[in-house]
Symmetry: D2
Subunit: 430 residues, 4 copies
């Protein structure tokens, strides 16, 4: 028998039993039960369109039927589930598939490391390796970067609130201004170069520069391809390793499989997670240029490096990349989103909006305090799951599954339009 | 068409495509394909008994049929798979089940945190929280501790090779001698107390003491219950938080659900992972005494906190703990293992063996360099998967699935006996 | 009996017995024996004009006769020489003199701390105190700053070679661009503000900002008074302590007693050393705004806090500040130096010189590699002691004793002119 | 005109103008004016016997007449006073004297570095160099060590109060138990060896071990010569540099010039300060085995490395070491002190005293809280200056000038005896 509160408050169990650290269940206060493609249903049967996509983990949609089929077959035949980093058939198929579908056609050559099944595991392994390869300790990261919550990754993350959570000094990193951070006139790559070439700058030669090509958590800040090229050339000039954290914006989020492809750069290390597991189950890869693969056996390890269900799902998801169709569709959807957002910004000049992003990670930074959160809350009421991002939660962030169809995209955008209109009424009149 | 080497060398693909960091596939050089209970089969159909159990992740056996059933049902009905830390029905069921089956009967009261799906995520969250609660920076850990490979966890890990992998100073920790580290005459708890009470010791009052009750990776060093009680009482006296890392030896590995139950202590924070996911799929929990649950929402986060397949599997696995039968069986199997190991040590005095461990994590430390690795290699040939541990890989470590039956256990032990006999012949004569 | 080499090589003893770390004796390879005012004589009787002044420690000239008189009297009467931080008459007189001659007329109110007798002791005490007052760990310093060679001071020093000397990570500091570092168009104070106000900048709120108003070692970079005011106002806005390291450019070096007086700012903490001891003997003071004087007794200490000879000499030196005559003379001499340097730069455009500095710390940054060192070497040959500074030793630095007369100044400048002319001949023709 | 309080409160000026950090002037609340040999007089003419000797800086007594004579002559002839690290005649004489009087007769071979004129400068330079030589970061130090107050030295200092003063984490050091720290049964050298040889100890191979042979500030803990030899042999075995900080107990304090001579060890680096300047004026030396003198020129520097008055005084003081007479006298005085202290301990069993120390650094640790401070206060009243030491100020510390005559010594000891007797009356009756 349930007590009264348990009946009337849908989140009663979570409030009673789960730690105060829980967060998204506060923004989206219902209990979810089912999902398919770009749709999610809560316990009461209410349907939501998902413009969050597991923060980029559900690029192929919820419970993608083809992948599901593979998972069920694998489970039914008692395929190996857990294997630490032993060799399994499922892992072999993922490795071969990744080589044949992703690396070869792009003329890329990387060794694949399984660093543990989360983005932060991958980032930690990348930082370790860069320090080992170069014998240097400092890593350069960027304002508003987000790379994870374990101490190593946190030390290259910009957010003050999250950094403070470490409860101790985060060392051996230096935070540099991201592209555009000092306004459009200042080329921050030149600024970085200045610090590197000056013997008195107080900044040591770093082991690596780590970056996201589009900063998702940091407010959808997209680096220009030109700037990315300059950063790569700085890295080459100073023999610094370039690490691209493609955890959120890789796997097609901006259009191409790797977000950096259009910039024509070749990072030394690439971090992948989220959608690489295909089905929203934990997996991460660290890609390493062969000449930097100087690990000793077991120098980095972890219990869930061998999560074979993720190998199976991740392998199946690679089917989307056999041709360039998928990539083109993302591009087209991205353009549609972009047009829509620009119109919205024009329609509500009092919200001082700025459209940001690329492909299917786009959003609007709003110049009114607290407004982005209100719009997301209104959208949730109307059946759309959408998150804010940015250092002050000032950006609404559209991150639909890449497989979303036209109808779903249209419907989601209409809810956003309606939410803007609703929140406009509450705006203070200047 | 495969090239020749690909045909003759079963690990060809892994050697070509995977990073040099891979390790267990070197000790167990075959490609595994299927598994069930305590058995694993490789691609060629060779059968192995598993005395490794995913380093403690497969306490309920490979592909446990009841759990598998639940997973397939959940997949079939399109239950939510990925949910960040939103509320889902599967999560609710896990929370309620954990309260009702584990916490309540043990009169324990902890808030549950989902810190990301690996042990190291849990440890990192525990360290952060302890620092936040106390406002102190130092954490005390122990010789030969293993807590994970991300920078925070690595800083409380003892192994020099793994620590060096960080490529930078690991700070804000102090390594103290574990129970028995200085021989049987010295009570290391007194030693710790001496450092704490002396204003000139050079050791600051720590935020927390973190420990494993049985150090798995560190060489199967089991702390006495007496010593654990003393450590808890030191923590109380100095208002230090006690963190028990039960990632490897929790979930019944030593007999009771929590390894520390027989010591009668109540840690402030408990880290769980590995078998908590039930099926060898990634999940981790951090248990927090309610008075210490001072997190801000989102102060620690991660993409795969909401891995619902693991919630489903983990919930089903709790069935094993509805009565105390399971615990008693583990105890009995542990005694059997212990008798066997003692006989072995007596039979081969020249190997200078020492039996270590508790419940179903036991082993023999061998006084002959390189011998443990040879025995494990011999056992693998004969169809047994078994790992070494300890700072110099000097310990053979028996970690069978807890659900192993008598036949399986017997068979595995016989292979060990045969491997000892085989390796004895190669021993240098003194 | 001396061996032959000892006779022919004047530095033989030093090369044999002193550590390789010795440096100035390499640039000025002779053995000095006597000095007076702005003149120094070596063992062979060769006379040198001193445009180095003990790196700013000999503002009142070598062996200033009035101060010497006081020192001899004090020695003769067996005045206390060493007193740790006990109260002595000599210390009392310094304290009262400093209050009456320096602080009161400037309407300044500071508590005086004796942190140990070197600049780096003072900086270390300032950093500790700022961290204690604010409860924060990070200190912000500037590109090309120089604050000392002990680990705390080194961590706020910009020079890479010197930082590397620590042999370990220097933590809890962040290096920001000094005034002018990014060219004349960029106001670096705005840049700092940007990092402080952005919650995602990766830079924590610092305990303090530490700066030199003119960076001596760093290349004679003079901050504008406008910029100093902005930095002070940033400090006020964010409750950051402002520490001015006036070790080299205080005590009248730029004209006023404190270098920051014309900027109209009031630092929270001021570091003084070098010429504060009056006679080139070790002394340092840390001046603290009364509201920040939260030290516990003995929380910072040192053996030579009570160097009474320095108290006596330092007290006597304050006589120079009884009126504003001294300050005005420095100003005038500075203007003369400035005119001279500008002419020099115009005369040798191929040297791409840039005049820098203020008062009697001025110099020329030269755009030709290695040229500054050559000019200083030529000048030494001609009887002038003058040092280079800057991250690549690219700046010639004029630092004559403040009491230098017109004849001495003129003579020194003529040697510089001749040295330029001589080095011009060796310049590569483009 | 003085205000009233200034007249009645002798410390009025200090309380008004000096920072709260001042400490010894609180234990010895008077204003000192004159001193000679082992005697000090305050402003009112009251005479004190000095059993503190500038914390070991006045081994040759206050205002030693022979040294004074040299200083005055040097001042009168305008000898160079301040010379950074240029070559001067005074420096040459000190170098030659140190070689001939100290090093050669002891068959020692060290390069001499002038690291800046305080003990902490010397320690900082030693730590830097050890890290450079070995390429390692960690330094091992001991419980209750005191090495100085700048961040580098503080990180190897044991005292919690002083460490906390850093206001930030002190990193790259590990604190090990000093000789006797765990009672007489435990050989702490074995303990250290255990940590070094175990690959899982959590303690990295250190660059250096730094120690005082007698810990002065830490409570007059004298290491046995046997233990010192073992530490040296550990250093040799593991290629760790041995740094002996002889700042307080060198220059004859325990009998021989270097405190470690009777142990027969040869440190790699030796830190000297305090009495090396002869007259209580700032000077410090770092002695380096030639093979470790790998400094780059200027890699460590400082303004007051060339304090020529200290060179002159320090050179003159070496006269005491021309024969072994001085050393023998110290020994005899030490024995006298020891007999006296033992009798005292026996006479007052209720004070639970323990005699500690060696040569002329001896004292009594008292088992009654606050008693040592009371005895020192009583002694001061009776005309004796004597300090407490130890982590809880539980030790009275006798540190008379080494040149004290029998009469002075006798008189001082009688005051101690009287102070004990006086304080006995206030003891609580158990």
């Amino acid at each position: 028998m349930k007590i009264l509160e348990e009946v009337t408050n849908p989140l009663y169990v979570f409030e009673q039993l789960e730690s105060e650290v829980r967060s998204y269940c506060r923004s989206f206060p219902t209990v979810f039960s089912r999902s398919s493609g770009y749709k999610v249903w809560d316990r009461k049967g209410k349907e939501y369109i998902d413009f969050f996509a597991g923060a980029g983990s559900l690029n192929y949609g919820h419970n993608n039927p083809k992948i599901k089929q593979k998972l069920i077959e694998y489970l039914m035949k008692d395929g190996i589930t857990h294997s630490l980093d032993m060799a399994t058939e499922a892992k072999e198929e993922l490795l071969v598939g990744f080589r044949d579908v992703i690396l070869k056609p792009r003329k890329l050559n990387y060794k694949v490391m399984f660093p543990g099944p989360t983005g932060t595991n991958s980032v930690e392994s990348a930082l370790k390796l860069a320090r080992k390869v170069t014998g240097r300790e400092i890593v350069m990261s960027f304002t508003n970067a987000f790379h994870g919550m374990t101490v190593g990754s946190l030390s290259v993350t910009g957010n003050k609130f999250k950094r403070r959570g470490a409860g101790m000094s985060l060392t051996n990193t230096v935070s540099m201004p991201f592209d555009g951070y000092l306004g459009n006139q200042v080329n921050t790559a030149e600024y970085i170069e200045r610090f590197l070439e000056d013997n008195g700058s107080g900044v040591s030669l770093p082991a690596a520069i780590i970056l996201e090509t589009v900063q998702g958590e940091g407010g959808i800040n997209a680096a220009s391809f030109e700037w990315l090229k300059e950063i790569e050339s700085i890295c080459r000039r100073w023999e610094i390793l370039l690490i691209v954290d493609d955890v959120q914006v890789g796997c097609g989020r901006t259009g191409p499989f790797f977000s950096f492809e259009p910039a024509g750069i070749q990072p030394d290390i690439i971090c992948l997670s989220k959608s690489i597991g295909g089905y929203g189950i934990p997996l991460a890869l660290t890609l390493i240029k062969p000449e930097h693969d100087v690990w000793e056996p077991g120098e980095h390890n972890g219990t869930f490096r061998g999560h074979n269900l993720a190998f199976v799902a991740g392998r199946e998801a690679l089917q989307y990349w056999e041709t360039d169709q998928f990539s083109k569709q993302i591009q087209q959807k991205g353009e549609k989103v972009n047009r829509f957002l620009r119109q919205l910004v024009e329609r509500y000049p009092e919200m001082r909006g700025e459209v940001r992003g690329r492909g299917l990670i786009q959003g609007i930074a709003l110049g009114v305090d607290g407004l982005a959160e209100k719009i997301c809350a209104a959208a949730f009421d109307k059946g759309l799951i959408m998150e804010t991002s940015g250092p002050s939660s000032e950006v609404i962030k559209l991150l639909p599954p890449l497989i979303i169809d036209n109808e779903g995209l249209e419907k989601g955008l209409q809810i956003i339009a309606a939410s803007f209109e609703q929140c406009r009424r509450d705006l203070p009149v200047n």
